[in-house]
């Protein structure tokens, strides 16, 4: 699949010499949902704003569809849409005017049929004549998405799309994002909610202190960096850990019936078979076995912690 976005060595310093981005390199494939994860102040929004032309970056190049975003800003900007983190909308304007205004800004001829279809798709049609100030937070978020899609972009940036949104609405929003992607829109989202990235994305990048510290496919990342825990439920509780089981570093639950043993998927060999044999050798009958994979959130915390430690050392 070809790259729709190519970021090469992009560096950004703010006026007060605060470094926001440092030599960022990133390629986004056409048609994918890409999640950009990072703690507050890591540079996620600055990177998105640099791509969309909202802030100027100092060095490096950004290309959309193989076109430089500065030299060919008219063409490249027509291809992008952005949904900002905050609910930035003109309160006294109607939904209809707001969305049509955005389409006009991006140089597109008025198309009331398309805007009607878009508002219906986002369940906003019955609110088209309502003023923004009369809408709920969730509705406002949808208006922002409608504005970003009003000019039919190929590349959509969602900056914390479900920030301060309740669980039900978040799931609703995820469905909207999935549908957009199915319709051929490439989506880049920044999020604090790891479950969001886990649910939606094909690939994930982790950014910390202005640097991309990791880019990988979500599933591979979980597989590569994830730890697994095997839970062995016994018929009878373990009275005392001795014998063969004493060499393992496992934990027991309160009933002393469930053994939790963590192992790394990266290792060539695991000691699971040996553990199961030793459980049997020590005279315990196994009732049930299950495994749990570490979540993206745990991987993310681990990565950031490691990266911060490295920064302190340097």
């Amino acid at each position: 699949m070809k790259n729709i976005l190519e970021i090469n060595n992009v560096t950004k310093f703010y006026k007060n010499s605060v470094k926001a981005l440092e030599k960022v390199n990133l390629n986004i494939k056409e048609g994918e949902i890409f999640a950009l994860l990072g703690p507050n102040g890591a540079g996620k929004s600055t990177l998105i704003n640099s791509i969309c032309g909202i802030v100027n970056f100092n060095t490096g190049t950004i290309k959309i569809n193989n076109m430089d975003i500065i030299k060919n800003y008219r063409t490249t900007r027509k291809m992008t849409g952005i949904v900002p983190q905050e609910l930035n909308l003109e309160s006294f304007e109607t939904v209809w005017n707001n969305v049509n205004y955005s389409r006009g800004l991006f140089g597109k001829k008025p198309d009331h049929n398309y805007i009607e279809k878009l508002l219906k798709q986002l369940s906003l049609w019955d609110k088209k004549d309502s003023k923004i100030k009369e809408l709920s937070g969730g509705m406002k978020r949808r208006v922002l998405i409608a504005k970003a899609l009003s000019h039919q972009p190929k590349l959509l940036f969602l900056d914390e799309p479900t920030a301060s949104v309740d669980v039900e609405l978040r799931k609703d929003m995820w469905d909207v994002v999935k549908k957009l992607n199915e319709d051929g829109v490439t989506i880049i989202l920044t999020t604090h909610y790891i479950e969001e990235a886990e649910e939606l994305s094909d690939r994930v990048a982790v950014i910390n202190d202005g640097k991309i510290i990791l880019v990988d496919e979500k599933d591979k990342l979980i597989e590569k960096l994830g730890e697994k825990t095997i839970k062995i439920e016994l018929l009878e509780p373990i009275k005392k850990i001795n014998g063969n089981l004493s060499k393992y570093n496992f934990t027991l639950d309160q009933t002393n019936k469930i053994i939790s043993h963590t192992y790394n998927l990266n290792s060539n060999t695991t000691d699971i078979t040996e553990l199961l044999n030793d459980v049997k050798k020590d005279g315990y009958e196994i009732k049930d076995i299950n495994t749990e994979q570490s979540s993206l959130e745990e991987i993310f915390i681990k990565l950031i912690k490691e990266n911060n430690n490295e920064l302190v050392r340097n």
Partner: protein, 253 residues
């Protein structure tokens, strides 16, 4: 050119004007009427004529200029500052619009609003005094040029203001005094020689003088100097706006 983009900004701004039409027009109409009551009736009873023109009629161009200047500045400064304040500016910055197109949309709308208000004042003034326009094309030329120039000036204020208070400082502390001291309600020939020379340092004097010439063919300074002054201010504003845009409009940094 992104004509749809320019049109979108222009229509959006004019729509705001339509929504607040009553406030937008009531304020200049009431102010003009009050000026006629205070200056026209009270002072006009003592100063009957200046340069052969009835005092009430004489002050009309100055009053129009006062309104055009303040309205152009406040409309344009508010129009650009408001999206900065509400953060909706992100959309304009992300749109495929050049700096020139952004300015054209905002300044065009602000200047249009001022022109509408200027025309309303001419009509209002006609209700109180006889208004004669000897050179209508010249009058329109001055009206349009002044509206555009000071809308650009307002746009600069909108780019630099750090709060709503900042939008008011220049119009209140600089523009209004300059208009009042720029011969809006008198001819500088009525002043002592020293103050006449001081008045010549006031650029607004040249605008009012040229504008008044288009009405009654009387002026404190030559028409050429007036035209040159307004063009110089216009070029100065264009250079300043271009410079600020090249630096990222103080927003993109």
């Amino acid at each position: 050119m992104n004509w749809y983009g320019i049109k979108a900004i222009y229509i959006h701004e004019m729509e705001r004007f339509r929504r607040t039409l009553f406030q937008s027009l009531a304020s200049p109409i009431i102010t003009t009427s009050l000026y006629f009551v205070v200056f026209g009736s009270a002072i006009g009873s003592r100063i009957t004529e200046i340069d052969g023109i009835n005092y009430g009629s004489y002050i009309v161009p100055g009053m129009i200029m006062l309104t055009i200047l303040t309205q152009s500045i406040s409309n344009a400064s508010f129009a650009f500052y408001f999206p900065r304040f509400t953060n909706t500016i992100y959309e304009i910055l992300a749109a495929p619009l050049s700096s020139f197109e952004i300015v054209l949309g905002f300044v065009g709308a602000a200047a249009s609003k001022s022109l509408i208000i200027g025309c309303v004042i001419i009509v209002t003034a006609n209700l109180f005094v006889d208004v004669r326009i000897d050179h209508p094309l010249l009058m329109i030329f001055f009206l349009i040029l002044t509206s555009i120039t000071f809308a650009l000036f307002g746009f600069i204020i909108g780019m630099y203001a750090e709060g709503f208070e900042g939008l008011q400082i220049i119009p209140i502390l600089v523009i209004t005094p300059l208009v009042f001291l720029g011969g809006s309600f008198y001819s500088i020939n009525m002043l002592p020689e020293f103050w006449q020379k001081i008045s010549l340092l006031n650029p607004v004097l040249y605008l009012i003088s040229g504008f008044r010439y288009s009405f009654y063919e009387v002026s404190d300074v030559s028409l050429f100097t007036s035209t040159l002054t307004i063009l110089t201010i216009l070029i100065g504003c264009i250079i300043f706006v271009t410079y600020t845009f090249s630096k990222g409009y103080r927003i993109k940094d």
